[in-house]
Symmetry: C3
Subunit: 488 residues, 3 copies
């Protein structure tokens, strides 16, 4: 790999330090930059509202929990990071990614860090590069550029910090000024971590999110075991579709008791369809008997989106749908390392037709809050914004995953806002597993919002008064309202 890198020039423009530009991500035109800076200053210090993400709640069950080594913090849990190294031919074993079969992988965290540092140039111009740099500088006080030469010194510096109480997850939660953090939790999860956090007396506001994917998608590996677990945690004997629904409703209530304000469903497509009770029961029995067909499972998933909407209207949980990701595209990686290893690849999506059954039944009800996340930007202006700009129940989710980036946000503003208006959007989600990256991710959003609005001001599209209101809405109010934290 290294051979590909041209020799670094030793000359006047060499910058061995890693510095964060205080005006980073702002357009360079001085007029716009000045206004962007002004708008950013207004929101830079606001509390972080993080309504959707994948942080492990066990990090917060006890104020003494530590992140471990720099490698266990930055590399091993972050598939955004190791998929890029993998793309250049570095085996995931060499990065310490645990194997499903427990087989040997690299355990020398300093060695893994060295490989990472030597290949850190791969992240130039990527959002991961921006987040990592911001974490290194802002959270850990690193000032040298990360490369093969500086690797071990920087490792030492971070490791030393990670042993300090101020770098425990609970302490960082507070210094990050997080007002609320939602995790994502399986419907079958007993939520022990969340119970412990509540019992601990620690005042951080951490809430679960109800995610029924592994029971509503009948072809999920281990579905029948999941149903048994769901029966156990809900206290409902599940032998029929109606008892299944009852169990889900009980779990939703239990999630709500622990602060949940939202559910979330991942679906390949936005296809919605309503089954008759008889059809639903019939398919569910096939699944229990292990002879459900692919088509039945697809119809059932489509039906369960309808059911989620109905339940949301009844219990008030906000409904989230994430569509368009083909999970585990790389079978070899999946077999060896399991899911969520950077091999989930988007596919083309369709919303106008697929979501019409749900929208026609529930979309006119302003009491439903349905937030749709898509990975196909061609739907942004064509389908998502027109639908969100018409149906009271539907809101456009923020730029997700590959689009949680400077360009992704700019394109989102460009494609969505003219038709939907910002008030049919819901602010920002960081959607991350990497807890220490949360401030960096929200900072990108805040800067992107400030810069976008500044662009509207200098083009005479909005005035500065409105821009000041809108930047606070985009950074804080819209998420808080859409996820009903203001009333829960």
């Amino acid at each position: 790999m290294q051979a590909a890198l041209p020799e670094r020039q030793e000359n006047c423009w060499a910058l061995p330090e890693m510095i964060l530009d205080p005006d980073r991500y702002f357009d360079p035109e001085p007029g716009q930059r000045k206004i962007a800076r002004e708008l950013y200053q207004r929101v830079a210090g606001m509390p972080i509202v993080s309504p959707h993400g994948h942080v492990d709640p066990t990090l917060f069950v006890d104020e003494g929990v530590s992140f471990g080594t720099p490698t266990s913090l930055f590399i091993i849990p972050d598939h955004y990071v190791f998929r890029m190294l993998h793309s250049q031919g570095i085996p995931m074993e060499a990065l310490g990614i645990p194997r499903v079969d427990g087989g040997p992988v690299e355990t020398d965290h300093r060695k893994i860090w060295q490989v990472f540092a030597e290949n850190f140039y791969l992240f130039r111009g990527t959002p991961s590069g921006a987040w990592l740099t911001e974490e290194l500088v802002d959270v850990f006080g690193v000032t040298r550029k990360l490369d093969g030469n500086s690797a071990q010194d920087i490792y030492d510096q971070i490791a030393e910090k990670l042993e300090q109480p101020a770098f425990r997850p609970c302490a960082l939660f507070e210094s990050f000024n997080i007002e609320v953090l939602c995790t994502t939790d399986s419907a079958t999860d007993p939520l022990d971590a969340h119970k412990k956090i509540r019992a601990s007396g620690w005042h951080g506001d951490i809430r679960p999110t109800f995610r029924p994917d592994n029971v509503v998608n009948l072809l999920t590996l281990g579905w029948r075991e999941n149903i048994i677990t769901l029966g156990e945690v809900s206290g409902v004997e599940i032998n029929s579709y109606s008892s299944f629904i009852e169990a889900l409703e009980k779990r939703r209530a239990a999630f709500k008791m622990l602060g949940a304000t939202a559910s979330d469903q991942a679906a390949i497509s936005a296809y919605t369809h309503e089954l008759s009770p008889f059809e639903a029961e019939n398919i569910f029995q096939h699944a229990l008997n292990g002879d459900v067909t692919g088509n039945e499972a697809a119809q059932f998933s489509a039906h369960m989106l309808m059911e989620s909407a109905r339940m949301s209207l009844e219990d008030g949980l906000v409904m989230q749908i994430h569509i368009g990701s083909i999970r585990n595209h790389n079978s070899a990686t999946f077999r060896k390392f399991g899911p969520d290893k950077g091999a989930d690849i988007p596919e083309r999506s369709e919303i106008t037709h697929n979501l019409s059954v749900l929208l026609n039944k529930y979309g006119n009800d302003p009491d439903l809050s349905l937030i749709l996340f898509v990975l196909d930007e061609s739907t942004f202006a064509r389908e998502l914004a027109p639908l969100a700009g018409h149906y009271p129940a539907l809101k456009a989710g923020p730029p997700w995953w590959f689009y949680d980036s400077i360009n992704g946000m700019r394109r989102y503003f460009d494609l969505v806002m003219e038709t939907a208006g910002i008030y049919n959007t819901v602010g920002f989600n960081d959607d991350t597993r990497a807890f220490p990256s949360i401030p960096a991710r929200h900072d990108v959003w805040r800067r992107a919002c400030a810069n976008w609005l500044a662009g509207l001001v200098v083009r005479g599209i909005i005035d500065i008064e409105d821009a000041h209101v809108m930047v606070v809405d985009l950074v804080y109010n819209l998420a808080k309202k859409a996820y009903r934290f203001d009333t829960n």
Copy 2:
């Protein structure tokens, strides 16, 4: 709704006035802005050519016709406006939108205006917001920002203006400097309004456009009644496919007599297909008998695009096709309020294959002028521009509907012009029902063109001489030539 709005800050940047930035929509970089201003000045005062839109011709049958109240002017007829209010949970009844069943809706226009004003913040950064602001300021001399506080004063101010002769439609037509305005009229329309305008002696150039949607799409609600009406207005007894064609040809001739230079067809897709006379007759008879299938209707629509092209070549009417809109997506809204209520949602489109039958038969004939409008921007660079950049008959229609906006125009220039060149495009269409918004919409286009060309000049892609020629072409010549106003 209002609760969602953060409190407005009372401080130095408060701007209670509503002011139009004279450099609005121009890029802020001073070099580009200077050239944009120069190019804009060249075309700002040129006459408006409006070759496609939906203004009601009865507004012009008599110079005494009035627009009514501010609410009947700005809100009730404009689905761009009330769909946004609806998206935030405001019932359309509360906005005075007439119900199909004649049931009760709000009739207090001041009350409706108040709701509109209190929610005017929803339009921040949207094209509707820009047009409305420009109309309020430029046409009605409003200077305060529209919100809940200023609502009634502004209502008074507009209402007072609307009673003056200078604010009658005919007077505004002249003060707007409209050279030609085309309406859209059903094939079955007897064109009484157009006849009256011609007979009135008023010199405004208003022309009909031949739109056969409700007779060529066999599944249109009320199709058989439409065929009877078509028979009546054309004087042809329609009992066969061939008499149907004869009736259409007669109507086209009648439209031409009243100044029409173009036809227009809305189609879900660009699918074209040629039926044999026997097949066409057979399907037409099924339709007359009320037992046509969905597939037959689709084949017939595809065939009628071919027929339109043939007729266009014979009678010289420019052919327009608008594709990709799923009409009346919201059934409840459609049942209660009828069509064109802000619930038409785009779908993905395909042109390369769908249009190939038509292009292969007629596309090489420079005597055909076929203008294609699409709502799927992913086709702009991929299909529309390459096809328009090859076939002599095909021109790329301007950015339509949701894309008739600052961003939409910028993306259109970006995606279409490199491959098609500007001379395979046709200038601008305002496509509006909202007559007083016409100058604002054309002004956005003029500014967008000036700014785009200025960007090319400062990047050394074109020189200033060419930019001066191109801006006049884009604003005036291309539309006039493509719609054959220069020769009709």
Copy 3:
């Protein structure tokens, strides 16, 4: 046509000279422009690496070969040029494009040039316009703008140059500073020109590329004749699938002997599928018997992509796939003038599912270098970048064809780089038949890279040190490495 052109204004901004702005294609903001200029200066003079294109190798078999007239150089071989003239109704016969049947076409090259010059305004703002201008100015020293008035003088000026030894292809190859140029050659091509070049003693590095389209796509017109030719040039009697594979492998070896480092396959879609040896043989026999079905041919093409990947792993040739072009969309043009006449139109593409069979079998092998070119930009961020950012074997090909342009490159950087990183891309391909346009095309890329990187620098996304490394990688190193010129 000329009538469409508004009268040229005779006033202060008239610029009768044609001048290349030294800062062309750079953003106007002075801070960014300064850095863009600095980065551009670094790479402006670097050797040209041209790993994929369609230049005719016979131009170089003898240092005395000439380009002929200005018309034979600029117009007749360049479908980018004449398709635009055709789109405005100028018959291809009038441009001297040879007919398949040998029928009469215009032979007066001065007359053709005059038509071209009078219509040169059609290319305003297009990449062809930019390249042509740059060729006229930089290669031929033209200083007047090309139009109807200057046409004959400019013709004289170019014609005079073309007779000089310095304007022979071999001489230009050297003055253009081309380090390596790859042509594209059918699998059935005996490569006589390449042999002659090698034998001539001339030191230009010109290499063939193995293109098996006309034998792996069983429905290719003349497929059986192609198989006979393939048998002859390979010395393998082809009567079975296995002998067909053997012949291909022999041809690949022969191409390698003459310097080839890559193969290339054009496919409508990225669909990959593996046939059993029995199935492959069966389909191949059907093809030999002339009774292969459309579906069999599609399966076979999909299988041959798998075979190409296998062969690439064995012989080390880089594998290129170009997808998404519907060839010869205009049947009349195809019948009269043959293929490659500007009527190839892109269609929507899909990669995530279509390429999964190949990627799952070979994608994790870093020894495979698979470069994918697409014409559907909606796949860039959604599919291409995520796949290239995960699979070690896959690299994103540069912006191709209609996207080999200033806007196309900008969108490519915008959509691809955040997710793939630049190190999963392969630099630039000029992909041209128009040899004298090579420097202009590479210059656009170099300027686009410099400007993009400068934009990242002024936004604080990368530092200037990294920008200097990245611009050299994008302009030179990435192509050289991806196409293995560094090791071959």
